[in-house]
C-alpha cells in the first residue's frame, strides 16, 4: 500500500508540470500583448515598451540564448517561460492588469466567499443524493424507483442557467422568500447563501442520483449482500455497513470529479447572486481579458483537483484492501 501511495505522490509533480505548461501556452503566449491593455488605448510605443520591461515581456519566450552569451549560463533561464515555471508554483502570479493589484491578494479575498458557497453546497448535495440512492436501492423495481429516475432525467435536462434564472425570479423575486442578491460577512451573510445553495443542489441532484443509483444497484446484486441477508443482517445494516462501504470507491471518484462542477456552479451562482468569490472574479476577468488572473485561477483550481485525485487514490488504498496487493 505504501509503495502505491509513494508512486502516486511522485507522479503528481509531473502532472503539475503539465498544467504549468498548458497555462503558460494558453494564457501567456497566445493572447497577445497585455502591456497594451495595461497602457490603455492611445498609449505611445515607448510607454508600452516600458510596461513590457516591467512585467518581463521583453524577455525571450522560451530560453534566453542572447542573455546566456553575454552573462553566462545562468541567464539562459531568464525567459518568460522559466519565470512562469518558477513564480507560479510559489503562488506569485504577478499583478492583475485590470485591478492593478497583486493577483494572489485578489484570490485570497475571493476564496472565503466562494468556500462559504461551495462547501455547504457540496455537503448538502452529497448527503441528499446518497440518501436518495440508498433509498431507491430498497425500492428497486417499484413505481417510486421509476418516478425518481424520471425526475432525475428531467432535472438533468434543464440548463443550469435557466434553473438559476427561474429559481431566482420565483423564490427571491415573486415569492420573496430570500433576498435576490447580496453579500455580507459573518452570520448576517448566511441568508444570502441559502437560495444559491438550494439551486446548486437542485441542479446537481439529477445526474448524481442517477449515477449513485446505478452504482448501488450494481452493488446490491453482489453475492456478499445475499450472504449478509442470509446471516440475518437487517436491511438498514446491509445498506449502511455492507453496501455503502463497497460503493464508496465509486462515490469517492464521483466526489472528486464533482470539484470542477462545483467551480462551474459557483461561477454562475456567484455571478447571479453577487457573491464576490472566485467564480465572480473569473467571469469578471474573462470579460476584461485579465490573463494573469485567469491563469492563476486555472492553476489553483487544477492544483486542487490534482490534490483531490491524490487524496482519492490514497482513500482507495485505505477503503479497498485489495489495492495494496497491486
Amino acid at each position: 500500500m505504501w509503495a502505491y501511495i509513494l508512486r502516486r505522490l511522485l507522479y503528481t509533480p509531473l502532472i503539475v508540470f503539465g498544467v504549468l505548461l498548458v497555462t503558460f501556452v494558453l494564457f501567456k503566449l497566445v493572447p497577445g500583448n497585455p502591456a497594451r491593455i495595461i497602457a490603455g488605448p492611445g498609449a505611445s510605443e515607448s510607454t508600452i515598451k516600458e510596461i513590457e520591461a516591467q512585467i518581463g515581456l521583453d524577455k525571450p519566450r522560451w530560453i534566453n540564448v542572447d542573455g546566456a552569451r553575454e552573462q553566462g549560463f545562468g541567464a539562459l533561464f531568464d525567459s518568460q517561460f522559466f519565470r512562469h515555471m518558477w513564480d507560479t508554483p510559489r503562488f506569485e502570479f504577478g499583478d492583475s492588469v485590470y485591478k492593478k493589484k497583486a493577483v494572489s491578494e485578489i484570490l485570497y479575498k475571493g476564496a472565503g466567499p466562494s468556500l462559504k458557497l461551495t462547501v455547504p453546497m457540496f455537503i448538502a448535495l452529497l448527503a441528499t443524493s446518497i440518501s436518495i440512492s440508498l433509498g431507491i436501492t430498497m425500492l428497486r423495481g417499484t413505481v417510486w424507483d421509476l418516478l425518481i429516475v424520471i425526475a432525475c432525467v428531467i432535472g438533468m435536462s434543464i440548463p443550469f442557467l435557466a434553473v438559476i434564472l427561474f429559481g431566482q425570479d420565483w423564490f427571491a423575486g415573486k415569492l420573496d422568500w430570500f433576498p435576490i442578491r447580496g453579500y455580507d460577512t459573518g452570520f448576517a451573510g448566511v441568508r444570502y447563501y441559502v437560495l444559491p445553495v438550494i439551486l446548486g443542489v437542485f441542479a446537481g441532484l439529477g445526474s448524481d442520483v442517477r449515477f449513485y443509483r446505478t452504482v448501488m444497484l450494481d452493488e446490491a446484486k453482489a453475492d456478499y449482500i445475499r450472504t449478509a441477508y442470509a446471516k440475518g443482517v437487517g436491511t438498514g445494516r446491509v445498506l449502511f455497513r455492507h453496501l455503502l462501504k463497497n460503493a464508496m470507491i465509486a462515490v469517492i471518484t464521483r466526489v472528486v470529479l464533482a470539484i470542477p462542477f462545483l467551480f462551474l456552479g459557483s461561477l454562475l451562482l456567484e455571478r447571479f447572486f453577487s457573491i464576490p468569490g472566485l467564480g465572480f472574479l473569473m467571469v469578471e476577468s474573462i470579460s476584461s481579458r485579465d490573463y494573469n488572473v485567469i491563469a492563476a485561477l486555472t492553476y489553483i483550481v487544477a492544483l486542487l483537483f490534482i490534490f483531490g485525485q491524490l487524496m482519492t487514490d490514497i482513500c482507495y488504498a485505505l477503503v479497498d484492501p485489495r489495492i495494496s496487493l497491486k
Binding site: 456478499y224 445475499r226 436491511t235 485489495r322
Partner: protein, 375 residues
C-alpha cells in the same frame, strides 16, 4: 424403522414461486414438495434454472422481490410456517436456525471487511456474546472447518485466501450459531475437484458433529450418491421424481431422471458419445402449453406418454413461437407414490398410473437404517 415417527424439520408444501420478467410471468417453481428430517441430507438435483436454488432461497425468503414472488404454498420449519413470519422474525431465523452457503465463495464474502469481522457479525447478531467471547466462538468455528492458525486468519481479508479457504470461512460463518438446517447451494461447483471432495467430507463430518440437516443443491450426481439420504429431482420448476437415494439410483422411473443418470460417465464403461438429457434447457418462460419433455430416443414408448412435463401458464405470454393464451395452459402432473419411499410425476389418467397413490413425498430419516442394515 426407528425414526419413522420423527417429525420433519423442514416441510415444503406446494411451493410456487414466480418471477416477473420483461416477457411476462415465469413460474420458477411450481407446486414443489419436499421434506427434510433431522440429521438427514436431502439432495436437490437438476440443471441450472430448474428452480432448485429458488426453492432454497424461498425457505429463507431471500427471493429478490421484485421480480420474484412466492405465490403459494407453505414452508414449515419445526412445525411453524416460515412464510407467515414478518421481516424481524425471519431475521432471527436466518443464520441462526437455518444457515445458507453459496456457489461462489469468491464473491460471497464482503471484500472490504476482514473475515473476522464477518464471522463476528454473524455471531453477535444471534448471540448475546461480548467481543472476546465472540472471537473465541469464531476461532473455534474456523478451527472446526480446518483452517490452520484461525486466530491470525480472522484478521485477513477475503482476497488473501483461496477459493476453498473462502468456502471454509463461509461454512464456519454459517455454522457459528449452530443452525439446525444448512442450505448448501452448489457449495462445490466453483471449486477444484480435489477441494470439492474435501469440502463435502467436511460437511459430512460437521453434520454428524452438530446433528444438523442439510439441503444439498447440486447438479453433480456423483456428489449425490455418497452424501445424501433422499433425492428430489427438479425439472423446469417441478419436482419430477422424489425418493430414497437408493430407489432413485437403482430404479429411476422418470425419463428425465434416467437421462440424468445415464449422462454420468461410469468407470469401466466405454462410450462413443455420452448420452445427453436433452438438447437444450427449457427456459420456463418459453414453455408454451403442450410442451412435452423429449426423452432419449431409446426410451420405451409407453413411458413417454406417461411422463409428460406440462407447463402451467396462468396468463397469456409471448414466446418465440407466438402468443399463447390461458386456454392452452395445462395442469402439471402430480407426484404419485410408485413404491415405498419413491414418488414420480405422472398423469393419473394413464392406466398404469391410475393405480398409484397420490401422496406428499416423504422419505423419513434413514441413514441410521442403512448403517443397521450394513451391520
Amino acid at each position: 424403522m426407528p425414526h419413522a415417527e420423527e417429525k420433519p424439520l423442514l416441510d415444503v408444501r406446494d411451493l410456487s414461486v414466480e418471477f416477473r420478467t420483461a416477457d411476462g410471468r415465469t413460474a420458477a417453481v411450481s407446486n414443489a414438495n419436499m421434506r427434510i428430517y433431522p440429521r438427514q441430507t436431502l439432495a436437490v438435483v437438476g440443471e441450472s434454472g430448474c428452480g432448485k436454488s429458488v426453492t432454497a432461497l424461498s425457505t429463507l425468503q431471500l427471493i429478490p422481490n421484485p421480480p420474484g414472488r412466492i405465490t403459494g404454498g407453505e414452508i414449515f420449519f419445526g412445525g411453524t410456517d416460515l412464510l407467515g413470519y414478518d421481516a424481524k422474525q425471519m431475521r432471527s431465523v436466518r443464520g441462526n436456525d437455518i444457515a445458507m452457503i453459496f456457489q461462489e465463495p469468491m464473491t460471497s464474502l464482503n471484500p472490504v471487511y476482514t473475515v473476522g469481522w464477518q464471522v463476528l457479525e454473524a455471531i453477535q447478531l444471534h448471540r448475546a456474546a461480548g467481543r472476546a467471547e465472540a472471537i473465541d466462538i469464531a476461532t473455534t468455528a474456523l478451527r472446526e472447518v480446518g483452517i490452520a492458525e484461525p486466530r491470525r486468519r480472522l484478521d485477513e481479508y477475503p482476497h488473501q485466501m483461496s477459493g476453498g479457504m473462502r468456502q471454509r470461512v463461509m461454512i464456519a460463518m454459517a455454522l457459528a450459531c449452530q443452525p439446525k438446517l444448512l442450505l448448501a447451494d452448489e457449495p462445490t461447483t466453483a471449486l477444484d475437484v480435489t477441494i470439492q471432495a474435501q469440502i463435502l467430507e467436511l460437511l459430512r463430518h460437521l453434520q454428524s458433529e452438530h446433528d444438523m440437516s442439510i439441503m444439498l443443491i447440486t447438479h453433480d450426481l456423483g456428489v449425490v450418491a455418497e452424501n445424501s439420504d433422499a433425492v428430489a429431482v427438479m425439472y423446469a420448476g417441478r419436482v419430477v421424481e422424489y425418493g430414497d437415494v437408493h430407489n432413485i439410483y437403482n430404479n429411476p422411473m422418470h425419463p428425465y431422471t434416467r437421462g440424468l443418470l445415464e449422462s454420468v460417465p461410469k468407470l469401466g464403461q466405454t462410450h462413443d458419445r455420452l448420452p445427453t438429457v436433452m438438447n437444450q434447457t427449457p427456459d420456463a418462460s418459453v414453455l408454451p402449453g403442450g410442451f412435452t419433455f423429449t426423452p432419449p430416443a431409446d426410451a420405451p414408448r409407453d413411458e413417454v406418454s406417461a411422463f409428460p412435463i406440462l407447463a402451467t401458464m396462468d396468463k397469456e405470454a409471448d414466446t418465440p413461437m407466438g402468443r399463447f393464451l390461458t386456454d392452452t395452459a395445462l395442469r402439471s402432473p402430480n407426484l404419485y407414490e410408485v413404491a415405498e419411499r419413491h414418488w414420480v410425476a405422472c398423469w393419473a389418467e394413464d392406466e398404469a398410473a391410475a393405480k398409484l397413490r397420490l401422496t406428499r413425498p416423504d422419505v423419513p430419516y434413514r441413514r441410521g437404517v442403512a448403517v443397521a442394515e450394513a451391520g
